[in-house]
């Protein structure tokens, strides 16, 4: 098997295979390239994504 430099994870919403150029940080927010669900990195190693939580009342600028 050839070694690949990309990091992969599965979208919890639509199960699409997502690839990252560099390992995302814990808490990082990203979007699924297929279903555009908003996802949050729950674990770095192994990379695990969950649907990002709804906006909370005290969030903002």
């Amino acid at each position: 098997m050839p070694q690949t430099a990309t990091i992969q994870a599965v979208c919890p919403e639509c199960e699409a295979q997502l690839t990252f150029d560099r390992r995302p940080f814990k808490g990082q927010v990203t979007h699924c390239t297929d279903c555009s669900a908003e996802l949050e990195v729950i674990e770095r190693e192994p990379l695990l994504l969950e649907l990002a939580p709804e906006v909370e009342e005290d969030w903002g600028e």
Binding site: G27, V41, A52, V55, E56, D58, G60, E61
Partner: protein, 291 residues
């Protein structure tokens, strides 16, 4: 030098911030605030940091963590007092009024009855806002007495006790946009206009950001506004009043800037990173570390 960049959600802004420190060759560690237990008597795991840059999306998490970091003696950007003032529209109004910085006419009232009187003093249309809130949430325009009575009754019945505090402002007939000036370390570095069909012009509500020149007037008012709340890094929002000119609407202590870098051509994150680094280099430290 080692900077702690605290966050609760690593958005585009936070990633751009980390890249900006990286480009300066400065070590900056992202700190997920949700993972920590803080002991007021033990700062040992935090003494490796020279400063804290607060990038928490949650106001509660910002306030809580920055108060602890200040107790540990770490310089924090922004400091807890600035965060508190900026996050509370009443405290912001009082700071602006104290420093005679132009801002919309405002009334505060504590009950439904005095609330109606407050709205009538302002006249119609008027704008009601929660004193703590962001992204345009629950900001309401009240066009007549019927609407005023309905809103007041709803708040009294459905809201919490804090929500009964009425903060009401004159509605400024702004030209379909508001203006935002980014201020870092006492310098106005960039400005945008946020344009929308809707009278609420938050980009979180779909308004479009366009870079505009930082005029002398915008710069000097913005810098004064940021000083009045004691912040170091902030975005000042202005409403353009057809009769009275620029009025400061609010000051944001943890500004979003991802849509502003391209349109202004100013690398806002780089300015923020440089400012924090310069502060550490110039030996600024929090007076009175107690641990």
């Amino acid at each position: 030098m080692h900077i702690a960049m605290t966050y609760t959600r690593l958005r585009t802004e936070e990633r751009i911030m980390l890249d900006a420190f990286d480009a300066l060759g400065i070590l900056a560690t992202p700190i997920d605030l949700r993972e920590f237990v803080f002991d007021p008597r033990d700062r040992s795991s935090w003494s490796r940091y020279d400063a804290v840059l607060d990038r928490s999306l949650s106001l509660t998490n910002s306030m809580t963590s920055i108060r602890v970091f200040e107790h540990y003696g770490l310089p924090c950007y922004n400091n807890s007092s600035a965060i508190q003032t900026c996050s509370d529209k009443l405290l912001t109004t009082l700071a602006l009024e104290h420093h005679r910085i132009p801002t919309p006419n405002t009334r505060i009232a504590l009950t439904a009855r005095s609330g109606l009187e407050a709205i009538e003093q302002i006249g119609y249309p008027s704008v009601i806002k929660p004193t703590v809130g962001s992204w345009g949430r629950l900001v309401a325009r009240v066009n007549d007495r019927d609407a005023a009575e309905a809103i007041l009754e709803h708040r009294e019945t459905l809201g919490s006790v804090q929500q009964r505090v009425l903060y009401v402002q004159e509605h400024i007939e702004k030209p379909g946009r508001d203006l935002r000036v980014f201020v870092v370390g006492g310098q106005a570095i960039a400005a945008i206009a946020r344009a929308s069909e809707h009278w609420v012009t938050n980009t979180a509500r779909g308004a479009q950001a366009i870079g505009i020149p930082v005029t002398d007037e915008l710069a000097s008012l913005a810098v004064r506004a940021v000083e009045s709340v004691g912040a170091h890094i902030a975005a000042v929002d202005f409403l353009e009043c057809p009769t009275r000119g620029l009025l400061v609407n609010e000051i944001n202590h943890s500004m979003e800037f991802r849509n502003s870098i391209v349109t202004t051509g100013v690398n806002i994150a780089e300015h923020v990173a440089r400012f924090v680094v310069e502060q550490v280099e110039s030996g600024v430290s929090q007076a009175g570390a107690t641990v």
